[in-house]
């Protein structure tokens, strides 16, 4: 008798969710059938973009996991990474054409951009967020919005208020690998080839190193970590540095693939990346990666695949996903809904 009580019952919310998912899946299949080649091409673009979103989303999710702050400035950090990295590569090093030697210089520029972003992120945390760690929750949130605006202004100063085209040292859009009738840009493969090792490195740092262990402990219970002799301030600083480095890498790749930098890119991509973090469950690192890739694919399908809404509706689609996820499944697609800490 009592065993039937513990059986999971389908709530109306989850039924609606399943119906929506089924409809989306049917739509995707329909789109694939209408134009398989175009669909696959778009899918690859989506995977590459999604990999970049995953890099940014990790920064959000790590910071949220450890101090429960939505770091609104993180997207703008990514933007600054793309601008500073591009300036470094194009104006200081003078590398503007695609060649094997210049790919190595691109790697140097990427390291520079990563170092810049992690230093900047640590600096921001030290100056703006640390003082407010015990303040009411609104305070750091509003501060983060303020920091985001300051960074955008720095972006305007460095990049100009109009989109600034940047010569790419990656293979151009004409250099493709052809599989049957499917054309795949080599640049997208480069993005995936750079992102995957970075993500693996990240997982290794968090899961295997001593500092990673301290990070996880701090995320779980800050006070207890302090009592266990963990230098919590240093660990939080380290988390911001890691997140910043990933944002810097994503920024450099984004500038190279799209061939332009713009000061307001951070706002939009930052929100998409945060949606990715929410999709995977905030604080869940593999979840953020999967969420990022998923959103990249959804965006690309919406913009390029047959029978979708088109580019002018991208933001609406993205934010609708965000709103629906946050209201119906705040724990993410895998996560369970967590009880609020009292």
């Amino acid at each position: 008798m009592t065993s039937s009580r513990t059986a999971t019952r389908l709530k109306p919310e989850s039924i609606i969710g399943l119906v929506v998912l089924a409809a989306a899946a049917a739509w995707i299949v329909y789109s694939f059938v209408s134009g398989p080649a175009q669909f696959t091409q778009v899918l690859v673009i989506g995977l590459a973009n999604g990999a970049m979103y995953a890099l940014i989303a990790l920064g959000y999710t790590m910071v949220y996991g450890i101090i429960e702050l939505i770091n609104f400035a993180h997207g703008d950090l990514f933007m600054l990474g793309s601008v500073v990295g591009s300036i470094f590569l194009e104006e200081w090093l003078g590398k503007k054409t695609s060649s094997v030697a210049n790919w190595l210089w691109l790697a140097v520029a990427m390291v520079f951009s990563m170092a810049f972003c992690s230093a900047l992120n640590m600096f921001i945390e030290r100056i703006a967020y640390r003082r407010l760690r015990n303040a009411p929750k609104l305070a750091p949130l509003i501060t983060a919005v303020g920091v985001s605006f300051i960074l955008q202004n720095v972006g305007i100063k460095l990049n100009g208020s109009a989109p600034n085209s940047r010569p790419s040292v990656l293979p151009t859009s004409k250099e493709t690998i052809n599989i049957g009738s499917i054309e795949i840009r080599i640049a997208y493969l480069v993005v995936v080839a750079v992102t995957v090792p970075l993500l693996l490195l990240m997982t290794w740092i968090v899961q295997k190193t001593r500092t990673g262990k301290a990070m996880r402990a701090t995320a779980q219970d800050r006070d207890a970590s302090l009592l266990m002799g963990i230098n919590v301030d240093r660990i939080i600083s380290y988390t911001f540095a890691l997140g910043g480095a990933l944002a810097g890498a994503a920024g450099m790749l984004h500038a190279q693939v799209n061939g332009q930098t713009r000061y307001d890119a951070g706002f939009r991509l930052g929100l998409i990346a945060f949606t990715a973090a929410v999709l995977g469950g905030v604080g869940n690192l593999p979840g953020a990666v999967i969420g990022g890739v998923l959103l990249g694919v959804i965006q690309a399908l919406n913009e390029g695949a047959p029978h979708f809404f088109g580019q002018e509706w991208t933001q609406t689609v993205m934010f609708t996903i965000l709103i629906v996820m946050v209201t119906l499944r705040p724990g993410g697609i895998f996560g369970k809904h967590q009880q609020e800490k009292v």
Partner: protein
């Protein structure tokens, strides 16, 4: 301290309020018709409109403690209400009701005063629709979702050109008719589009009305419920405060100010274009509320006026003054984002209670100080 004196001395307090009212009444005569001085008339009108917006957001952020980053949505609804019901946009129809447009002009033309009411109601409904699914969320998620709505709505309005004319915009918006009020000397039958003084007084009336409503609500049962939720949501719900209903009320009332201000804004600028409605608007209003003092009605007004003046006149003006004395040429207007950002960060770090702190923030601070002198840490953790 002046503040303590004002709290204890009632006549003095009313004196201060009277002084503020006098300044507000005579502000247009101090302003100049030119656009490049220290106080152009156009900026004065905008200051009053933004003060109204700040009053509205103050109810949501200041009273109820809900961070709304999508206030631009209500502004947008208000402005489009004016555009829809006071212009020739619906050219296949020809509806006139107590309006100022000539009869042969097609479109829907309603009285400005009716449109203001419709705008308020529409914005409040929008607030309820946005609020109902989202107000259950934790504060930081709420901020994000409201931001999402603030981003989606302009895009939807841009894309649905059949209803909004997209980026081309809707205009011109009809002039304001004063109806029977033209018996008062100095009031015209219709307010001409360049008569900013009259427009200023109209919006001033709405500001005064909203100040009254705000203070009445704050001191009433609903206001105390908002305060309880702001300070501790869990405790408030245990004490029997209906969370959703109370939060929705704050959203709805706050939205009304946004709608009314938006509808009025449309009659000032004449054309409603979707590009006017951006995320930075939400931040500017938030900045105003924080600068003035979260939860303080007078603070919201002061913040709204200061921020708007800086945004529309101050930065340019000060930049020119600076350039005339220094050899380096700096366009201060290029730093407006940084200006708002710095205001937000500095206020949060050094004076989170704002320029004019609300009564409660002052008390909390006093208790904190007293505890500090006893050698313990603050009361709020």
């Amino acid at each position: 301290m002046l503040r303590d004196l004002l709290d204890r001395n009632k006549p003095l307090r009313f004196g201060f309020i009277g002084l503020a009212a006098l300044v507000a009444l005579f502000l247009p005569s101090l302003a100049s018709e030119k656009t490049d001085g220290i106080l152009p008339l156009f900026t004065v009108v905008l200051c009053a409109v933004y003060a109204l917006f700040a009053l509205g957001l103050n109810i949501v952020v200041g009273f109820a403690g809900l961070l709304d980053l999508g206030y631009v949505a209500f502004f947008l609804f208000g402005a489009y209400t004016s555009a829809w019901f006071m212009s020739d946009f619906w050219f296949s129809k020809n509806i006139h009701f107590l309006d100022t447009a000539r009869l042969e002009i097609p479109g829907v033309h309603l009285s400005f005063w009716l449109v203001i009411i419709i705008a308020g109601v529409l914005a409040a409904l929008a607030g309820l629709v946005i609020g109902a699914p989202t107000l259950r969320l934790k504060s930081d998620y709420l901020a994000l979702v409201t931001l999402g709505f603030g981003e989606i709505l302009p895009e939807v309005f841009r894309n649905l050109e059949r209803f909004t004319n997209g980026t081309k915009g809707i205009g011109p918006v009809d002039r304001i008719g004063m109806g029977f009020l033209d018996v008062v000397p100095g009031v015209d039958k219709t307010v001409s589009s360049s008569n900013f003084t009259m427009k200023y007084y109209i919006i001033l009336v709405f500001c005064a009305l909203f100040v009254y409503v705000s203070t009445k609500l704050r001191d009433g049962r609903l206001g105390r419920a908002w305060l309880a939720i702001r300070e501790d949501e869990l405790a408030a719900s245990l004490m029997g405060v209906p969370l959703m209903k109370t939060k929705l009320w704050s959203y709805g009332v706050g939205a009304v100010a946004g709608g009314v201000g938006g509808a009025f804004y449309a009659t000032i600028v004449g054309t409603v274009n979707v590009d006017n409605f951006q995320f930075s608007f939400s931040i500017i209003i938030l900045c105003a509320v924080i600068l003035g003092g979260m939860g303080n009605v007078w603070g919201a007004i002061l913040g709204g006026v200061l921020i708007t003046w800086f945004n529309y006149t101050g930065l340019t003006y000060l930049g020119e003054k600076f350039n005339s004395i220094s050899p380096k040429d700096i366009n201060l207007k290029n730093y407006e984002f940084a200006f708002f950002g710095v205001v937000l960060v500095l206020m949060m770090l050094f004076r989170p209670e704002g320029l004019i702190p609300a009564a409660r923030s002052r008390q909390v601070k006093k208790v904190d100080k007293a505890l500090e002198s006893l050698g313990t840490t603050g009361s709020t953790s």
